[in-house]
């Protein structure tokens, strides 16, 4: 059985929990002492395979358990990979800001939030352009792991004081994502939008 070393507050852990829920896959959850303890999360164990990178975990789960191939479509693999990379860099700034604002991590919150706003603007513009082409999701024709990799960083930005009032395309997109069968939230992601 799949096992996930998990931390309830981690945006990266939530990405994996969300995908497992959307795939309706049972798994064994092991709580890690990521805060205050500093254990690294998430870690996915699938037989002999041990994966620590959220993007690699999403890709592995897609290849192994999504027989329809809709979450990582071959035709859009390069675009998906590009957004996985952005989720791990530009957008991860939002989660870094969250660690500073909520968990007392070292860092300059004002600078991180400024970068975070720029990342949200880029994402909002991308989603708005996609809508002009009649597309609801970040890549391709349906939801992919690109959407899932981005979603937690964006949705948890409230924790560092960044609201979504200025990002209407993000708002519409996140509402679509919440309606997916099997969707699960996490503390800090408001239920009321």
């Amino acid at each position: 059985m799949l096992s996930l070393t998990d931390h309830v507050l981690s945006a990266e852990s939530y990405t994996v929990r969300l995908f497992l829920a959307l795939l309706h896959l049972p798994y064994n959850k092991i709580a890690a002492d990521a805060y205050p303890g500093g254990e690294i999360v998430p870690v996915l164990r699938d037989g002999q395979t041990v994966l620590r990178d959220p993007g690699l975990i999403l890709a592995h789960l897609s290849r192994s358990y999504d027989s329809a191939g809709s979450w990582l479509p071959a035709a859009d693999a390069a675009d998906v990979a590009r957004w996985l990379a952005i989720a791990a860099t530009d957008l991860a700034v939002l989660s870094e800001a969250r660690r500073v604002a909520v968990l007392g991590a070292k860092g300059n919150l004002a600078v991180l939030n400024q970068k975070g706003r720029a990342a949200l603007r880029t994402l909002d513009d991308h989603l708005a352009m996609r809508r002009l082409k009649g597309k609801d999701w970040m890549v391709g024709d349906g939801p992919t792991i690109a959407d899932l990799a981005v979603f937690p960083h964006v949705m948890l930005s409230h924790d560092s004081g960044l609201g979504h009032e200025d990002y209407p395309a993000i708002n519409l997109w996140q509402r679509r994502l919440r309606r997916l069968d099997g969707f699960t939230g996490m503390p800090g992601i408001p239920d009321y939008f």
């Binding site: 931390h7 507050l9 709580a31 002492d33 805060y35 909520v102 968990l103 924790d159």
Partner: protein
């Protein structure tokens, strides 16, 4: 901003002892920056009074009475669990009041500490114990589908609450594993600014089945569910004048808490009445 004696003359935690590195570190309390020195197992905060009880560093900016007692800390079979400090953009008094509230369980902690089908708060008792200057709420009961990290299936949980200072509170609840004893969960609040607080949850529990990370994870999940609500409450500061917020029967402990703060003339984290005169 000048801080009133009622707030200065209290003990406040600055964090768990183990979170202070050797040497100098800095914390902020009641709008004042503090330099903490940790050398060997000795702590000092300038020339302020210092205590190291309950695994936490305590100080005061005024002349406090003796630090409150937590007798459960001496019971050998209890596990001491530090849940990690969490910063919340809200008045510390709002944090304490939320901690005292049973009625939000089914809605904020749905399917964990309550279910929407059973929202009723049974009648409970509150009292101000004048001899020790503490507030107590007793005989509280609530149906909980998952009362603690070790819970399997629902139970009617018994609760007691004990407010020892305006910014320090603890609750006692029946643990799923030892129904004849009480788990203790404390919430020590470090008011940084009137509307910015650091919460230091600390547990003394009877649970030999959950791992440390499971206990911490459970408490953090509950706390983060509260955080988003706390940060969206308006006014940000706690109003004490009647009529600004309307309590119901279930808010008896909150009514007593607010009355007690008023009696103490506490103003830090309290909404200025003048703004609405």
């Amino acid at each position: 901003m000048s801080v009133e004696a009622a707030a200065l003359d209290q003990w406040y935690t600055l964090g768990a002892l183990r979170d202070f590195p050797q040497g100098e570190s800095r914390r902020r309390l009641l709008g004042t920056d503090l330099a903490i020195s940790h050398i060997g197992d000795r702590f000092s905060v300038g020339d302020l009074p210092v205590r190291t009880d309950y695994g936490h560093l305590w100080t005061s900016l005024g002349t406090p009475r003796p630090l409150f007692d937590i007798p459960e800390v001496h019971e050998a079979d209890r596990r001491r669990v530090y849940c990690g400090a969490v910063t919340v953009r809200a008045s510390g008094l709002r944090l304490i009041e939320n901690f005292l509230d049973l009625a939000h369980f089914p809605y904020v902690h749905s399917d964990v500490l309550g279910v929407e089908e059973r929202p009723e708060v049974a009648r409970y008792e509150v009292e101000q114990r004048r001899d020790v200057d503490e507030l107590w709420a007793t005989k509280c009961e609530f149906f909980q589908p998952r009362a603690a990290a070790s819970a399997e299936g629902g139970q009617i949980s018994q609760y007691m609450y004990r407010v020892v200072t305006p910014f320090n509170v603890m609750l006692y609840k029946t643990p799923p594993t030892a129904p004849n004893r009480w788990d203790m969960v404390a919430l020590f609040v470090q008011p940084v600014e009137p509307d910015l607080s650091i919460a230091h949850p600390y547990m003394l529990v009877i649970d030999d089945s959950s791992t440390e990370a499971e206990l911490v994870g459970f408490q953090q999940m509950i706390f983060l569910q509260d955080k988003i609500v706390l940060e969206n409450q308006r006014p940000r500061l706690l109003p004490l004048q009647p009529g600004r917020e309307t309590p119901t029967r279930a808010d008896l402990s909150s009514v007593l808490y607010r009355r007690w703060l008023k009696e103490k003339q506490l103003r830090y984290g309290v909404e200025e009445p003048a703004a609405f005169a």
